[in-house]
Amino acid sequence: MERILAILDTIANKPAPSGFELINFAEQFADTFSLDIQVVVAGSSIVDVAEKASCYGHDVMGLEHNSLTHPNPDFLAKAVIPLIDDIKPRYVCFQHTMRGCQMAAHLSARLNMTCITAVQSFNAVGDIPVFRRSLFNGKLTIDLSPTTEQSVLTILPGAFAPADSSAVPRNPGTVVIRKISDIDSPCRPLSMSESTEETVRLEESDVIISAGRGIGAQENLELIREVARLFPNSAVGASRIICDQKWLPYAHQVGVTGKTVSPRLYMACGISGSQQHISGMKGSQIIVAINTDPQAAIFSISDYIIIEDLKTFLPTLMQKHKELYK
């Protein structure tokens, strides 16, 4: 049977947060197109992760090399080329993280394979897969098909739930650990560091009022703060753009490269709803979005949609609150 190679994302010999979602995608895809799944994990000491991954019932290959302690996509992409030459998978898939994208690009350029990125879902038209992803910040979706015998995919984190190894009883797959011989990769990972600056505990707040670029000016953060003060145990969150401009410290940032939160209420003010932001707050119980653009992607995941200019709407909201609840 033809194969799909699922290359899981690992950081410092641990699976990345969205790592096992890729197995779920591979299973659904393999079901539709009658493929075998081969899982690959890589690191400097990867037996534990390989065994964990094998619980899903698929064969796992662990690639080991000292250069893979920290993420080293340049090295790993080069290391899987011989593997692809060897087992000739029909599809190779990665998570759509920055590292996954880098490896996918490297393979597609070196092996002349079609590459389709940020896949959210797929369909079969005859025996040809059609992959769906979003375009223009979620305002449109685009369907793409590969044109080569072998192709590379990156799967959007959050699009598929993590696979559940206990759902059906499965026999663990076989685990093979392969030591990689030296590879000509000039990138040298030196260290990893975690941001220690901590000014707000977003994860512990019941209510998060978040500011995006739509607030227009730093002064308007005061509007957001005032609304937040209406609620007990509330905090101010932000999109990346706000933190990049240092309008708020990094600890307020919500999204893939910030905090993942699930408060009782998340109010997105002037936030467009990029995938990177949504992935950090879509688990919120109630989502309210205020935006001037009726096409904004944030509305597609919102419970309550308010098409208004926040600079006039938030003061109105404060005023009404004073009239009605004080």
């Binding site: 690009a105 490297h106 990125t117 209420l265 419970d303």
Partner: protein
Amino acid sequence: METGCRRRGPDDTSMKILVCVKQVQDTESPIEIANGGQWINEEGHIAFRMNRYDEFALEEAVLIRESLGDVIVDTISVGQQRSGSTLKKSLEKGAANGIHILLETTGYCPPSLTAALIADYARDKSYDIILCGVMAEDDMQCQVGPLIAARLGFPCAVSVVKEAISPDRKTITVECELEGGINETIALPMPCLLTIQSGINRPRYPSLSNVLRAKDQKLLTIQANVGPLSLKPEQLVSISYPEKGTKGLIITGTAEQKAEQLLTILHEQSLI
């Protein structure tokens, strides 16, 4: 000799940086499907501008020039006639030369094509560093940078939030952003390619002298030569509007009425 092409002698320590800048439609512009579901309507009310991540990449190149001195910063863009205005903007922001790879076709442009065209241009120009944005805001492929690197055999680091060039100008040490506040430090030899993440710097506004210079300066325009590239890119099937989320309630009325309704809802949920 072709413009921009320069072979260096052993004592030549000057540096050349190429910044890839993409013109994108402003994400707030209304977007409507056209061409029978094959692309969007680009006429009329759509505003075009430089991809924001590329502004950070360009600023970083200019900062390197300001700290090292003898550095040439060029910008390159693949696209239709209108991309010229984004290259002009890059001159206003401090680039020395703007290179326009003119690709007249409209519609979906696969990253492999863009990357092949840029790599072909850059191959014999001895750039020390190529900078890209971490992604294009319109198609979010995160591919063009690492594709160019693979085609040129350059080492590559992505999502860079800090960089430092060694005194001998042979290596560059970068901090790459992973997820959730973790950064990784990587050293790589030059020539290399980096993709730049937002927040690495604060892109400047154009200075008056650069605006005046840019006005008179010609771009180097090269017709894209797609024929010999033998690429097999993904094929567009169709474009559609996303399925409307079924759960969302649009709150209607005047602003006052909307505010009242929202407060009522929040009250009912015992949030206030």
